[in-house]
Amino acid sequence: MAQRFKDIDYIGLFLWLFRAAIIVIVVWGTVAKLFLGQGNAYTTKDWINFLVAGLSQGSIFALIALGYTLVYGVLFMINFAHGEFFMAGTMTATIFVALPLSASGFLDKHPVIGMLAILVVAMVVSVSVALLTERVAYRPLRRAPRLVPLITAIGASFFWQYFFAGLFGSGLIPFPELAVLRGAWMIGGVEFLKTRAVVMIASVIMLIGLYIFIMRTKTGTAIRAVAEDKDIAALMGIDVDRTISITFATGAAMAGVAGILYGLVFRQVNFIMGFVPGIKAFTAAVLGGIGSIPGAAIGGFFLGVFEAIGPPLFLEGLGIPGSHQLKDVIAFTMLVLVLIFRPQGIIGERLAEKKA
């Protein structure tokens, strides 16, 4: 008995030191940067730019994160193939719609219609891939132990990556640039890159739409009912299998949109493009409290901003060279920290409560 308490104490002590070390690093770096003038000198305008870039990137994370959270909400399963749903729609729409429309000049003549066509195709493909994956790979395992669908999801993720690599090649494919989105808007003396602004506006519209769908419609309420208790939902006449499919489809549609927005920002796509954004969005979902819809949105924005501001702020302050390349380190360190210290996320409920 005494031995066990001792072990726990050591772990507790280690975690406590770990937490303290992180705080020291962040505070020390920030102070060094702001007051001792370490690294590059940034103006207020630069900082605002970092913030805007972070929010814009974060809005894409938020869209993807919703897919993880929705599926987790109804199945208590981390759908690791979600990044591939994002990739599948984007690649297909880029190759079959965006590039031809751009080559023919249609995209620049009618940018709104063109973009809508690209988005619709991306959403349709993402949704189809998601429905197929759910039907073939997940549904038969619904009563299996929780580890089994998790492993299957990783398998499905690889399957789709190499399926699309085989289909479209493994090289980088350029995403066309839209002439209307070149340059920036000046608002109150602050420069907003048009692409970033459009990405953010589009994401926020989607987030609000999703929130209304889940909270205000009958189907959305059924999704929440299924998330709480599948047997009782069935007693209400809710077709549980169909509702789970709708949940996957909803998340995948958001991922499809996110993929195109991602293409607009980074201007290239390939078969592996779902991996890093997928894991980051998962981080965002965990950060916000997996299973919570507002949590996924908040987690996404938070991660985007932290990633954009962290390197120039405390990493440069610490004198770390090439700090802007360490974005991913920040994201994944954050995932580890959240899992250790606050597994229920920023605003999440306890996972145990949800299982009940």
Partner: protein, 237 residues
Amino acid sequence: MALLEVNDIHTYYGNIHALKGISVTVEEGEIVSLIGGNGAGKTTTLRTISGLLQPRSGNVLFAGEDLSKYRAHHLVAKGIAMVPEGRGVFARLSVSENLGMGAYHRNDKDGIAEDLERVYKLFPRLEERQNQVAGTLSGGEQQMLAMGRAMMSRPSLLLMDEPSMGLAPVLVEAIFDTIEEINKEGTTILLVEQNAHMALQVAHRGYVLQTGEIILSNSAQELQKDPTVQKAYLGIE
């Protein structure tokens, strides 16, 4: 023809033989009580009728139709609703959303509004708390919500699993008054209870279930007089 006819069903949980040939009939307009102690198989019987469990043999006929070809979510539209054991309200949905889920399969807006009014008249407490999240309701209020939710499907047969569980005696009285009222308005009720006293008071007929088998069945009045029932379930020596 009986509204509900359960014919010799055997239900298993893996290798556990939970129901060993249960037969129950419920005539239209009746209240039938199924009484039995812990683990007798009461909940299993209701779950088998409602399609959540499949019997390994035997069948369930509703209005003469064999239900084995349907899945659980089809039965609400047929006219079967359940008030599950432990209430089973959706804790994170509001009271009105819970009631809305009861009417999930319906599209007749006017009819739904009418039934909502009826439920709120029966349980004014629910109307006061319509925007409150169901998880924060008291046990009694949750029971009312579960009953109201079932009524929102306008069922012809209402299955109730231990509605008195965990409620104060005054509330139990009120709940059973409501059960009789719902029945008088034309809903047939199959009631499962450990509280044999209340269950036999409101019922027309009753069955006694013990370890997966029916050991007695009779009119409720006769059962109340039965020495076995008095001893085992009514606490009368």
